[in-house]
Symmetry: C2
Subunit: 298 residues, 2 copies
């Protein structure tokens, strides 16, 4: 199944029932607005941890209805992050969201070996893009979390993202491993890794997807660019997921998609026991809302 628009995620999320989302340091107008929209859409039921007084103030000035929502008073943001994580450990919440707390503090709580949300997977960022110039959703990893993942870590990242796409109903996501050229060149590490990942997929070492690479970005998004180069590929021109070599590449494409190609993104951190929503103030309202929706499909 191909998903063309982010809006289609709303239906998938609602079909999963209402999820509990816990917000760490919820005293943030942008976050409260996004959570409120998702609540109205019947997708989530929030729990706010944070500075109760400030949360109520913001709700009032932004006309956000917070009646009936559980608020756990914890004015210290770092401790608020710990408390929010506890809700996910006990299963009382199925989604974790960052409010007005430093990302480092939130991730410290998530990664705590005893009280956190670690799994055997890597924490990684998935960015699901709706782009005017592409015929379906296009996902990229890793644009925000891992600076320079090792090869083994990259396999884990792919597995997490494939699992996420499988849950969206994309049974065999087409995974393109990005490189600057479409040929294997021993001088370009990204092309070496691409060949390895492709062959691991053929050998059944990475499942539930079709991997192909190296592919340059034009080959990934355009079948015509593939024919120009005579590339025979099931993935090129129809990719669901782009695997980037490192953060330099992933972040640059992410920003290019957002700021120059008119893209809207739904982003999550995967690899913990629950999906984590980590929006930034610069994200559009739709993007913040869609990030919550994406987490709710998992």
């Amino acid at each position: 199944m191909a998903i063309k628009k982010l809006d289609e995620l709303v239906q998938i999320a609602t079909s999963r029932g209402v999820k509990k989302i816990v917000v760490a340091a919820a005293e943030d107008d942008h976050v409260l607005n996004a959570v409120s929209s998702a609540k109205k859409a019947g997708i989530v039921e929030p729990i706010f941890v944070g500075n109760t007084e400030k949360i109520k103030e913001i709700a009032k000035s932004e006309s956000i209805d917070i009646s009936g929502i559980r608020i756990v008073d914890e004015p210290n943001p770092a401790i608020s992050a710990k408390r929010a994580v506890e809700f996910c450990v006990t299963g009382e919440a199925q989604i974790l969201m960052k409010g007005l707390v430093a990302t480092a503090d939130l991730l410290r709580a998530v990664l705590n070996k005893e009280t956190g949300l670690r799994t055997n997977d890597m924490l990684c960022h998935i960015g699901v893009f709706e782009l005017p110039a592409y015929h379906k959703l296009l996902t990229i990893t890793d644009a925000a979390q891992n600076i320079e993942p090792t090869f083994e870590e990259k396999v884990k990242i792919i597995n997490s993202c494939v699992k996420c796409l499988n849950k969206l109903g994309i049974e065999k996501p087409k995974v393109a491993v990005l490189a600057p050229v479409e040929v294997v060149n021993p001088k370009i590490e990204s092309t070496i890794q691409a060949a390895m990942l492709t062959q691991m997929n053929r050998r059944g070492q990475i499942k539930n997807c079709i991997i192909d690479g190296p592919l340059a970005l034009d080959n990934i998004v355009s079948k015509e660019a593939c024919s120009h180069k005579g590339i025979v590929t099931d993935v090129g021109g129809d990719a669901d997921l782009i695997v980037c070599y490192n953060l330099d590449v992933g972040n640059a494409i992410y920003k290019s998609f957002s700021y120059l190609a008119g893209g809207t993104i739904a982003g999550n951190i995967l690899g913990a026991k629950v999906p984590i929503v980590l929006t930034s103030r610069a994200d559009s309202n739709r993007s913040k809302f869609m990030s919550i929706v994406l987490a709710a499909t998992n």
Copy 2:
């Protein structure tokens, strides 16, 4: 002076007078068409080296007027490249263009220590983009030539690109050094290099431009994204040139600009005694024409 559209380059090129362009292995319909357009616009006067018979055949079937154009018959593409380079060494031609010859063969002729076009500069690719979502031309380097330039090589690349932009009338190009974050992080090499390049510029070690980095791509193209992060910068939001860490990054952005952000590119190889036009078949006609125009402004 800010240049908003690639079309403005035509006027700059014509103000420099008619340049001689020599085409290696000119028996290529796309190349002949582009050169013919540039000739009609009064920008270049061509010399064709290559398979005379095929050149005449193509000219006939494509209705290209080649009357009065000098043709040097050399059916072997690699030798044709050498002959074309000779025209540039002697000064008979001021622009070199690739026809139906392998890039490697052309560059071998260019880089030949005795008979080539080497200078003390690095060969590097400059890509000048017109983008619907940006308020002026946006240039990137290096998206096509150098896989993993060293820091010293990057300085040379910047100098070549700045020289090229200076010739377009952009007296002090704003040079953004791209990284995945806007802060210096000793774990991210691109941010280290960005800080070094910025400071070298302040110390007068790199001249005729204003360098700032590290900047993420959103900070480079959007002043609003800079204010969101509290970044004080003369370059952010108004960059003329983006310096990419390596080919993985440069090529990915280049393809993203071309295929998803609706960009049109004029591309040249700089750093040899003459600018080199090296278009690919997948480039649009406008892009091929503009690449010749860009070379003619130098």
